[in-house]
């Protein structure tokens, strides 16, 4: 078991290394960041001087090595524009994105799991049809558009909720619902099919035939087993959630990581973009690692695949 954890940890490091290479070279090869920082009227000589100041005059390989060695110690470089460490800017915004993601995940889980179970139990009924159609609709709807529609209804016409920012607690409602609906749609589809698969299995049928109450069967036997794939999908959905937060934060001017990314991309503040991408990737990998570990600890029947 310890071996398993360690080998997963090694895998994680290798993955992070690959990500750092990809991210670094995509950003560095794509354009000259110095041109964004230098004013229009700078001469070539002055631009060279600034390039030196930021260390862009060195060979790419060397720049990468410097970047990685510093990154390991938590130093991701200074933002070209804010003139402060990129990681500091990210940590400042992190709380807002976590808050949003957590609220959306809570909404997603509370909607998706009961609906998914219901829909599997009443398979092929009208209720099932309604639930599955709604969840298909939720998957198909662009989240930013849902956000805009909520703004039109609740901010512009009803004047109930603020259209932007995180200045009061109720401001979180619209962005988290926007994100949560997409997540609920994906999760409920997953829950339904996982439940269906389990309900068809022998031990559930046996439990039925032993005359156990239907509710007991569902809750104690079926759901427990269906949860395994659901939780895996939940972990993967967090990636979707992080991605969605970029767009949704931009719609609601929510001062989180996603908006920081968009702002930085639009002014080509590459140190921040770089640090942000690595941060997103690392949190995604870590969350899924933790979920894997939780599994094994909570469910002794699963060991290693």
């Amino acid at each position: 078991m310890r071996g398993f954890f360690i080998s997963r940890l090694v895998q994680l490091c290798v993955t992070m290394f690959i990500i750092s290479v990809v991210v670094f070279f995509i950003l560095r090869l794509s354009g000259d960041p110095i041109l964004v920082v230098a004013p229009d009227f700078f001469s070539q000589e002055q631009i060279e001087q600034m390039r030196k100041f930021w260390g862009f005059d060195k060979p790419l390989g060397e720049q990468y090595l410097t970047f990685v060695t510093k990154a390991i110690t938590g130093d991701f470089g200074k933002s070209y524009l804010a003139k402060r460490p990129a990681m500091e800017l990210i940590l400042e915004r992190l709380g807002y994105t976590w808050m949003l993601a957590a609220a959306a995940a809570a909404i997603g889980l509370t909607i998706a799991i009961p609906l998914g179970i219901l829909s599997a139990l009443k398979r092929n009924s009208l209720l099932d049809l309604i639930i599955t159609s709604l969840s298909s609709l939720g998957t198909a709807m662009p989240s930013f558009w849902l956000g805009l529609m909520l703004i039109i209804i609740f901010s512009v016409y009803l004047r109930m909720l603020p259209a932007f920012g995180a200045l009061e607690p109720k401001a979180i409602i619209m962005p988290s619902v926007t994100l949560g609906v997409g997540m609920a749609a994906r999760l409920s589809r997953m829950t339904r099919s996982a439940m269906l698969e389990v309900l068809n299995q022998d031990y559930v049928r046996t439990a039925h035939s032993k005359g156990l109450l239907r509710q007991t069967v569902v809750m104690r036997h079926a759901l427990r087993n269906a949860l395994i794939p659901i939780v895996t999908v939940f972990g993967l959905q967090l990636g979707w959630l992080l991605g969605g937060s970029v767009v949704v934060e931009s719609v609601f001017s929510w001062p989180g990581l996603g908006r920081l990314m968009i702002d930085s991309i639009s002014v080509r503040d590459n140190t921040v973009v770089q640090a942000g991408l690595l941060f997103f990737a690392l949190s995604f990998i870590l969350i899924n690692y933790v979920i894997d570990v939780l599994y094994i600890m909570l469910d002794p029947r699963i060991r290693f695949q």
């Binding site: 998957t139 662009p142 558009w145 805009l148 991605g243 990314m261 973009v273």
Partner: protein, 306 residues
């Protein structure tokens, strides 16, 4: 060879279809049995027809400005024509622009999924078939790329590479392949150990032949199911990028761009935002339905994975 045939029966049923005379009728029969499949194929066919024949049925020129009729609500009519879904900030007809926008969605959806599908299938085949160290290395790379949420990766790349329709298609194509690689490699690992593959080796066929003739046909159905899902994902990604100003640029008409225009005037002209969004939703819904149906039909094994 008997073994091989029976194992391939499921795929063969599809692969052989065009050859049989009754095949189209049978496909239709299968389709008719599934309301989801029906709805999906109707929507998708409709959108594709719109993309091809849009200019013929479009009530007005999608680029035609009418500055006296800016920000007019749905149903507005003047001496130039009527605007069923209202007008935008330059007095252009929203309905005509939605019709014109279907082209980009179809183009982006189909072309970038073809690119990413081809790349991903080849990558997955090689990784799964060759195995060993190569497989571990290739899969770590896929893990790495998959760990950055797709839309964030695409946003970052298009932020630095720049915008434009063809650039966008390439970006989406070259970032979307990882999912296929993962799934196909998994399928290859399963199929590789099957009796008929081992039998093919025993009969003296070379590795390349085995891979192309015996393994690929058995895993391709998963790729097709996945592709249907990815078309939807790609269309949504295009609209998000254009919405954020990182995707297609005017004067090309796309639904995402219409939304980003509409957002500026959301306090007074809701129709500029509402209708393009409905168009995206319906299109993606059609693709999702079609994907669900294809999945049930082709590949019961991957049920629920998407």
């Amino acid at each position: 060879m008997d073994v091989q045939h029976s194992s391939q029966a499921r795929v063969g049923q599809i692969a052989d279809m065009p050859a049989r005379r009754s095949a189209p009728m049978r496909l239709l029969a299968i389709l008719l049995k599934s309301p989801v499949g029906m709805a999906g194929s109707l929507i998708v066919t409709g959108i594709v027809l719109l993309a091809f024949f849009g200019p013929l049925i479009s009530p007005q020129d999608p680029q035609g400005r009418n500055l006296r009729a800016r920000f007019k609500a749905p149903g507005y009519t003047d001496d130039i024509g009527s605007y069923a879904l209202g007008t935008d900030q330059l007095g252009r007809d929203i309905l005509s622009r939605i019709i014109a926008g279907s082209r980009v969605s179809v183009l982006v959806g189909v072309v970038s999924v073809l690119i990413s599908g081809t790349l991903g299938v080849i990558y997955g085949l090689i990784s799964g078939f060759v195995g060993g160290i190569l497989d571990s290395v290739l899969m770590r790379i896929v893990d790495g790329l998959l760990a950055i949420p797709f839309i964030i990766l695409v946003i970052a790349i298009s932020g630095v590479v720049g915008a434009g329709l063809s650039t966008l298609i390439l970006i989406l194509g070259f970032t979307g392949w990882t999912t296929y690689a993962r799934v196909i490699r998994g399928e290859v690992l399963k199929v590789r150990e099957m009796e008929y593959v081992i039998a093919a080796y025993a009969l003296g066929q070379n590795r390349l032949k085995v891979m192309l003739l015996h393994i690929m046909p058995n895993v391709i159905s998963s790729a097709i199911v996945l592709a249907a899902v990815q078309v939807g994902v790609t269309i949504l990604a295009e609209s998000s990028l254009s919405f954020l100003g990182l995707g297609v640029k005017p004067p090309t008409v796309t639904w995402g761009l219409m939304l980003s225009d509409g957002r500026q005037y959301i306090n007074s002209a809701w129709w500029m935002t509402a209708y393009p969004g409905i168009a995206i939703t319906i299109t993606v819904l059609g693709v999702v339905f079609l994907g669900d149906w294809l999945r049930d039909l082709l590949d019961p094994n991957v049920r629920g994975r998407a």
